[in-house]
Symmetry: C2
Subunit: 250 residues, 2 copies
DNA sequence: ATCAGCTATTGATCTACATCAAGGCGCGAA
DNA sequence: TTCGCGCCTTGATGTAGATCAATAGCTGAT
């Protein structure tokens, strides 16, 4: 079993409504710790485009994405923006021990997050080593993802960037289940061209052009607004520049 | 006190010969845990240019840099390379729970690392929550650094990239102590043009040209091979594109 | 003293992507 | 039905940085 399939499996088992995805690992949890989590949990909803917190603002909670997509971005004084995190369901936001957000957190689609007040969460971390361990694992995964992303930003061509992004979403998207029998992959690409360009370090025009190019060559098929079909995943993978076995970008 | 100065302070207090920099935090440690660390510790030296491990190779230890500089890089099939980690003294290498290296680890200068066999280290992590907590903190710092780096790779101009790199090294370099009385900063930039280009996602020619440009404008002064003087740190900072207060890239 | 092998610099040219600009499509509001 | 507004596409042009190429300094070996 490859690392990728293992990863996909892991995600499908995760619990989106717990900052440490506890369902997947709670065999080791004591039930009263979970009670603690339940007790301090609350939900917040955002519409597509809304900002959850601005960089520098107070952020007195940690959270995990339940449904929808959130992004982390940095902005330069003159307005240049770079996305630095793409949060899908079950992903974690917020840094224990830091009281302000270092990034703009934005709802890329309609979004539901499951939040925990930071204070009790940190106390529980101290009492329950398992939670810290889980968080460490998740953070290490994120760091690996960030480093794969750095390779993309620093060295890939626009075409490779687009192909990579489509493959990344395809792999992570839960509705991956929508895989048709003949090996074609059908799923939602719920990002605007602008969001894609912020992810990839390109302009939205370049994103649009390269999407068109991949479409003309039959590497991807678009259906309606944002439904994407990948007729042959391996063929698209070849356009990413990654070596065939690698690309374990979470 | 700004975040930056706080960070510098932290580093200067760190212990380079312990994977969790324990001197800085060992007030909370039990002494027999430290004994454990001592017991499984060994040193390895490398010459500049030598490879510590290749991506994909077995890596049965974790380590911290004692002296010198190590880099983490990814390589694409056709040889394009991107640096994804720059490890200065006291920085940690290796991922607990992973038996192969995900990156090429290379000695950028002559290098001494303090290594711990992975197995006993992991056992100790289980027994000593404090170590995991420390590792989590360090990993979160690395993740922040990676995200700052992503902004650099995705959105900064070549000039801004160079200025940023020089500032980053200046801030982190221990020999920061070499700060002269009139506010000028003198330190070693122990990276070849090629290493700089791999860090920045540029070619080495572009690095060379931009270094020359900054030199001609008096923003930096070079002395001998790799000694650098920054006559006015704040003026150089303005060239990085970062907002004046931010830029806490570890 | 000479040479081979690095590393760095600088120039000439090319090109991938950015920038500027003009429509087009779909959708909700009036 | 029409208008306005987001979002996307496509074309024309500009440019930052890549690529190709020549040379120079430095170091250590013969």
């Amino acid at each position: 079993m490859t690392r990728n399939s293992a990863k996909i499996l892991t995600y499908s088992q995760d619990c989106n409504e717990c900052p440490i995805r506890h369902r997947a690992v709670c065999a080791r949890c004591e039930s009263d710790e979970l009670e603690m989590l339940e007790q301090f949990k609350y939900y917040r909803s955002f519409e597509a485009g809304q900002t959850v917190v601005w960089a520098g603002d107070k952020m007195d909670f940690v959270a995990s994405v339940v449904t929808g997509i959130a992004t982390l971005s940095q902005t330069m004084e003159d307005g240049r923006r770079q996305m630095v995190g793409l949060l899908l369901p079950s992903d974690f936001v917020g840094r224990p021990g830091r009281e302000t957000s270092a990034y703009d957190v934005t709802a890329a689609t309609d979004l539901v997050m499951c939040c925990f007040r930071k204070k009790p969460f940190e106390e529980m971390m101290l009492r329950t080593p398992h939670i810290g361990q889980r968080l460490l694992e998740m953070t290490l995964d994120e760091l690996d993802a960030a480093r794969e992303w750095m390779l993309l930003l620093g060295r890939k061509t626009a075409r490779e960037k687009i192909a990579s992004l489509v493959c990344i979403i395809a792999r992570r998207d839960a509705s991956l289940q929508l895989k048709a029998s003949d090996g074609e992959l059908r799923f939602d690409l719920p990002l605007t061209r602008e969001a894609m360009s912020e992810y990839l370090g390109l302009t939205l025009e370049t994103v649009s052009r390269q999407m068109s190019a991949l479409r003309k060559e039959g590497l991807i098929v678009t259906e309606g607004k944002r439904q994407i079909i990948i007729p042959d995943f391996d063929r698209l993978l070849e356009e990413t520049g990654d070596d065939s076995d690698g690309g374990f970008l979470v």
